[in-house]
């Protein structure tokens, strides 16, 4: 058995984040100011001057993350003139059953007014989110997102996880591996991300999901063991996969991953085309 946060949709979350989601880079500073220390504010450089598939993708990702199982409530912070309209994202989140509120900087009267209004809305969301406490869940509710199709233990992990009735989701074949596909994995239902860090690589944290960082570089692991959750170099793939699965279960029970301990709540978004 594991524990987690049961959502109205039936999904089980590994975390109960209060999310402050700027729809555009121009509202990231206001979002961070509203969030303070006990909510998770995403910083990103997107949401405007995007075209084509990027607009659809950014909109889809933001809307999906607002109702992610790890999110107990979401405050969308818009600017007003952006391509990916914050108000519409908030509406999409609400239609999908998420706890959501919205503040727009231009309509509210600028930065200071938006921060004050945002804090009021966040306090309401917080009191709702706090009513959800950890409850029992089953192993077959776990969805792991593995951020690299070429991680050596990918096959073993998939076999182990499937035996438990759970699921591993992978980036699409044409997606570059790594942190930029974390939002896509979360959108596909992953509550916990497994990040394979190859030679010279360290893990990037993720605002929505705990990231289990697996070191593939033995020397780098030796130099900074606290940056990773486990080492993959020099072990059999089955052994590594077993450790990853065991760690993921602990994470569901509340154990902090390395990225959470160091306060890494990054958000890298996959793009397909240049900004206009």
């Amino acid at each position: 058995m594991i524990t987690g946060y049961r959502r109205a949709s039936g999904a089980l979350g590994a975390r109960n984040h209060l999310l402050v989601l700027p729809s555009v880079i121009c509202s990231t500073v206001v979002a961070r100011t509203i969030a303070g220390v006990d909510a998770v504010a995403i910083s990103h450089q997107h949401g405007c001057a995007e075209v084509g598939d990027d607009v659809v993708h950014t909109d889809d990702v933001f809307s999906a993350l607002g109702v992610h199982a790890n999110v107990g409530g979401a405050l969308v912070v818009g600017l007003g003139c952006e391509t990916v309209q914050g108000g519409q994202i908030a509406e999409r989140i609400e239609r999908q059953g998420g706890h959501v509120a919205f503040v727009g900087i231009q309509t509210t009267g600028g930065t200071s007014a938006a921060v004050l209004r945002g804090r009021e809305l966040l306090a309401i969301l917080r009191s709702e989110a706090e009513r959800t406490t950890r409850s029992q869940g089953a192993l077959d509710e776990v969805v792991l997102g593995l951020d690299s199709r070429s991680a050596p233990f990918a096959g073993s992990l998939n076999a182990i996880v499937q035996r438990e009735g759970a699921r591993v989701v992978l980036p699409e074949v044409d997606m570059p591996p790594g942190a930029s596909c974390h939002p896509d994995l979360a959108r596909a239902g992953a509550q916990v991300i497994v990040s394979w860090c190859g030679p010279g690589e360290a893990a990037v944290g993720f605002a929505i999901c705990p990231v289990v960082a697996v070191a593939g570089d033995a020397a780098l692991y030796e130099a900074m063991p606290d940056e990773f959750d486990l080492v993959g170099a020099g072990r059999t793939d089955d052994d590594v996969a077993q450790s990853v699965w065991a760690t993921a279960i602990e994470v569901f029970k509340g154990r902090e991953v390395a990225a959470e301990r160091r306060g890494a709540s990054d958000f890298l978004l996959r793009r397909v085309a240049r900004s206009m």
């Binding site: 500073v29 450089q45 001057a49 130099a223 890494a264 900004s275």
Partner: protein
Amino acid sequence: MNPVLTGYRRPNGLVGVRNHVLVVPVRAPANAAVRQIADGEPACVAVTHEVTGHELADTGRIRRTIVGFVTNPNVASVLFVGIDASDVWAAEAAAAAGQAVEFVTLAAHRGTAGAVEAGRRVVASMIETAQSHRREPIGWEDLILGLECGGSDGLSGITANPAVGVASDLLVAAGGTAILGETPELIGAEDALALRAVSPDVARRVLEFVGAFETAIRDLGIDVRGAQPTPGNQAGGLTTIEEKALGSAKKGGRAPVVDVLEFATRPSVRGLNLMDTPGHDIEQMVGMVAGGAQVVVFTTGRGTPTGSPIAPCIKIASNSALSARMGSDIDMNAGAILEGTESIESMGARIFERLGAVASGETTASERGGNREFAISRIVYP
């Protein structure tokens, strides 16, 4: 008029108008460390970004942007935080450009916590050194001004942008330099700009870079409507990208076009330069600042809090309603031109005057608001 223009003369000969200590990650896994180094240290500015080191074809552009940005003379010194020794290229490139730079890695300090501790010691010493730097008299010829508009409306091209054009002309006449960018917002204005080029070669390059952007958009097989003009532009009365462009280009005044610059490169000729940048407000501002702009003027019709981590940004409203509604985000109101209390010329003269005051130390709305957005422009994905 500010009687004496002042700034910081750097050992490499460049002149800054701010005196920032900057902390920058080389790759995104160092973002958390960078934030923690700067947390609670108001004399230190941190930026974070999404670069992982797997950007392939964009690597050169990304590196040029990072190095250009940290070697802007508004930066007294920079601390790079890397993962391991392979990230040293950034510190080496900044040092080669004459910047005071330090480099710490996560790997050398057993991870984030150790790197934060080491980084905070480095920053404390950098701040002490920076505080010993003194402002000295400088000249207009030392200044590079970035010209930008964001969240434009139908009035931007009638009030704020032409007034900024007057200010830009005054700066150029005084021997200074201005950069006009936002390539997608020059589509439709390229012929008029080419006619102002100082030579046939510059004229050819003006037509080339604007044309190349149009071709790149066409090759993507996508419709730019929705991105340009943005939903906010349209709500503000802008109907087409050409209408937006003709208004946007007015920020460049009437001065001759002396050169065309690649993204994030420094002008080599004083006067009005064009830079090939995206219209994305932050990517563009970072490119201009990486190209050496110490001050930015930014016109807006819809209202945006945007600022730069290291360069003061003078925000000019195109209309009085915006100035009243978002007063704490706005520095000047060009809506006065519509009401007849200012002419385009008198407003332009006031913007030029404010430029001198801000360069000499007066703070702007976005500096007071802590607006330090940062983004690195990419061209080729993945």
